[in-house]
């Protein structure tokens, strides 16, 4: 018989000792990783057992599993299946909550597409005309906002989540104040795209805070590059001049 | 000077899987192999020869006793610096060429880089593979494998060779070449421990031999003494004086029978021992 087996009990003891000694290093790495991107924890996975989770948690193809589920939701999307689409979106984000695309597109589907599915494409105008339609649109907009709220844990440094919330508050719920707060949060997070500043300025103007809007746009204008179309520097410059004229401020 | 191989009171037990019993493969073996000799280790299958060789090489640990190679414990890796080993039915990395194989083992044997190329070339010639040195070992015949195996055993210029069935699968000409190499090696003062079932070969090459049966040493001595024939009708006379022998010779001449001691073959002796469980009649 192979006497190599006789060292296994000692090896196991030493392995336990090593694991214990390295547990603080393990925690340190986990904390650093957790801060950067969502680390899958037990509570995230336990509700999803049996739904192809085994492949997902193997790590190597977790992202691909989530991506494939996301792609497969297109089937339910085309069939205008509310429950099916919601289920796939929830599964994709629980398997891999890191891609912003899941949260942004999921929120857009909730806020824009699902109300139309509920009332029917031919009755889409009811969402703005009738009380019942408006209630359905409101309901799904609030669900989209709650969905985006879930993403905060995994997307804490991402301004786009706040921007998406701001757009829903503004366009779907007509809540300019909340929309402005969301855009401010996006700008404060850092790394917000150029249009976020312009839209925040418009919202401040709508709220009657024209001085604040002017200060914002002026400071933003200084940072804009001359040769990048999307920065829309001339447009921002025109808006500043218009605001100054309205506020009777000399150039 | 210490013996080339010194086996003192060595036993080896193997645990039988699924049972508390043990199988004794080698039982209290005592063997000394002198330097500069060719020693044949014989025995039927399962007699403990391979286990003895593995203990000599340090591949297996004795359950009892000790084993020394050229004065060093066989369990130490340093003992193998001066050993060249050819296993039975050798297997080598198939993707290597013969030349690459010798380079590989030469490096592991500690041959200096400056000497290695010349040594490899000369060994390929010596074993008759100079034309096949650049072919992959995977395409070698059985005989070619034995030859390259012998070459890798020699690459480190060892003092002690342990050859397990060196002529197995080799044609008679090749076998004769290998036997000639063994004799050359002995002339160089090196020691050879040879295991073989081709007893006629062992008889012609070896100085001394030992026969193992069921893990025990049944017989050991010079080949000449071992092959001195016994006749079923021969008489065993102990303590015969010179005067007594003279009288016996006179008696034999009168009665017309031969008093000489005819030789029997080692094969006959081997079969007698193996069938008789280690006891000579």
């Amino acid at each position: 018989m192979n006497s190599s087996y006789s060292i296994l009990p000692y090896a196991l003891l030493l392995a336990l000792l090593l694991g214990w000694a390295l547990s603080s290093l393990d925690r340190s790495i986990t904390d650093q990783l957790g801060q950067r991107s969502g680390v899958q924890s037990l509570k995230d996975v336990e509700s999803q057992f049996g739904q192809g989770l085994t492949v997902a948690v193997l790590g190597g193809y977790r992202s691909i599993a989530a991506n494939l589920i996301w792609l497969s939701k297109n089937q339910e999307w085309e069939e205008r299946d509310v429950a099916g689409t919601l289920g796939k979106i929830a599964l994709a984000t629980s398997i891999d909550p890191r891609p912003e695309m899941f949260w942004l597109n999921g929120a857009r589907i909730l806020a824009n597409d699902m109300p139309t599915w509920v009332v029917g494409l031919e009755n889409a105008e009811q969402l703005e005309i009738t009380d019942e339609g408006r209630a359905i649109a409101r309901q799904y907009a609030e669900r989209a906002l709650a969905f985006l709220e879930e993403s905060r844990e995994y997307q804490s440094g991402n301004p786009r989540m706040h921007i998406e919330s701001g757009m829903i508050y503004w366009k779907k719920l007509d809540d300019v104040e909340s929309a402005a707060a969301s855009f401010k949060a996006a700008i404060d997070t850092g790394g917000a795209p150029y249009f976020a500043y312009r839209l925040y300025g418009e919202l401040l103007i709508e709220l009657g805070l024209k001085h604040e809007a002017l200060r914002l746009l002026q400071s933003h204008y200084e940072t804009l590059p001359d040769d990048f179309l999307e920065a829309m520097k001339p447009v921002v410059g025109d808006r500043i001049r218009l605001l100054k004229r309205e506020l009777n401020i000399a150039d | 000077m210490s013996a080339a191989i010194s086996i003192q009171g060595v036993s080896k037990d193997f645990r039988i899987p699924g049972s508390k019993r043990r199988l004794r493969a080698v039982d209290n073996l005592n063997l000394e192999i002198e330097r500069g000799s060719v020693f044949g280790l014989l025995g039927p299958n399962g007699s403990g020869k391979s286990t003895t060789i593995k203990m000599a090489l340090g591949l297996v640990r004795p359950s009892k006793g000790k084993c020394e190679i050229l004065g060093n414990s066989s369990l130490e890796s340093s003992a193998r610096k001066r050993i060249g080993y050819l296993p039975e039915a050798p297997c080598f990395q198939r993707f290597l060429t013969g030349r690459e194989l010798l380079f590989y083992f030469g490096k592991l044997s500690g041959v200096k880089k400056t000497d290695l190329e010349d040594r490899v070339n000369s060994l390929l010639v010596r074993v008759g593979l100079e034309d096949a040195g650049d072919r992959r070992v995977g395409g070698y015949s059985k005989g070619m494998l034995q030859r390259i195996g012998l070459a890798q055993a020699m690459v480190g210029d060892p003092e002690l060779f342990i050859l397990d069935e060196p002529t197995a699968g080799v044609d008679p000409i090749g076998a004769a070449d290998i036997a000639a190499i063994i004799r050359e090696v002995r002339e160089e003062g090196k020691t050879v421990l040879l295991c073989s079932h081709l007893l006629s070969k062992v008889e012609t090459i070896c100085d001394r031999a030992a026969i193992m049966v069921k893990g025990k040493l049944a017989l050991e001595g010079s080949v000449e003494s071992l092959t001195a024939a016994t006749d079923f009708s021969s008489a065993r006379i102990e303590g015969l004086s010179a005067e007594g022998r003279k009288q016996l010779e006179t008696f034999a001449a009168e009665w017309h029978f031969d008093l000489s001691t005819p030789r029997r073959s080692l094969e006959e002796l081997f079969l007698e021992l193996a069938k008789g469980d280690g006891d000579l009649e």
Partner: protein, 283 residues
């Protein structure tokens, strides 16, 4: 070490000779070539999946396939090649001739490990190269298709991040190779060593879940089992440093250093146990 003036020093050069031979054997294996082809095909197939919105999400998809190939195929290769090349030597008796030379068993074990590890690291390197090429091609075509939407000088892909991810996988593979080397030193068949390797890979990937479960469950037996699993095995999940690396997330040097220390300590431990085990093995 020895009597009579004979000394045999432990030699790195003998170890490297064995490692180099192992590497040569490994890259010739059909399995290695097959896995490499499969992983590249999987990466190429990611081009077939197009989402509605192009741009960074599509690039992330391609990156995910590449990273997935490195971890899954790389891990499978590490397990199979280590078991086959180490146990294969014992099963085919080539180890006997080798160990009859003046070679320490620890040199043999370490040489085998290094040979396989370098082989799988080369596999990851090749896949990294293919991934970088695939992403660069797609990024270039996106720039051509949507020039106004991408700022001049802005990169959609963080190629340095891809290299960091690959490096993290090399550390992970090192631990896995060392573990399978350990199993191979006492296993009697390569299938057993491979099965154990796969089990440890899965359990190691879920180790963080086991640790958390150990703190949550009340049943004492289960609690002990989860805790033992949590401490006895390495946490492979640590090396999932985030596919977001390719999309610009920064990886602190301190994190790379910690992963290196973690990887080295576990690898050294398993190799030490493997050597002790192999020293006692009878061939």
């Amino acid at each position: 070490m020895s009597v009579g003036g004979d000394k045999l020093n432990w030699s790195l050069s003998r170890t490297l000779v064995i490692a180099s031979n192992t590497f040569r054997e490994a890259v010739r294996m059909k399995l290695f070539l097959g896995m490499t082809g499969l992983a590249i095909c999987a990466l190429a197939s990611s081009f077939l999946f197009r989402e509605f919105n192009f741009g960074s999400s599509e690039l992330k998809f391609i990156a995910d396939f590449g990273f997935g190939g490195m971890t899954v195929f790389g891990s499978a290769l590490a397990i199979i090649v280590t078991a086959q090349l180490l146990l294969g030597e014992i099963e085919h008796r080539t180890a006997m001739t080798l160990l009859a030379k003046p070679v320490y068993r620890s040199e043999f074990v370490l040489g085998k490990f290094l040979g396989v590890w370098v082989t799988v690291a080369c596999f990851i390197g090749m896949l990294t190269l293919c991934l970088v090429l695939a992403l660069w091609m797609r990024e270039s075509s996106i720039r051509l298709d949507y020039p106004e939407e991408i700022e001049q000088g802005q990169s959609l892909v963080h190629y340095g991040g891809i290299l960091w991810f690959s490096l993290a996988q090399v550390f992970r593979i090192g631990i896995l190779c060392a573990l399978v080397t350990l199993f191979s030193t006492y296993a009697t068949s390569s299938i057993f060593a491979m099965v154990m390797g796969v089990l440890v890979w899965i359990v190691g990937q879920l180790q963080h879940v086991a640790t958390e479960a150990g703190g949550v469950v009340e049943n004492l037996v289960l609690k002990t089992i989860y805790s033992v699993m949590g401490y006895a095995l390495p946490n492979f999940h640590l090396f999932d440093v985030g596919e977001g690396l390719a999309m610009g997330e920064a990886l602190p040097i301190s994190l790379v250093g910690k992963l290196l220390i973690y990887g080295v300590l576990y690898s050294v431990f398993y190799l030490a146990v493997a050597t002790a085990s192999f020293n006692r093995r009878e061939l």
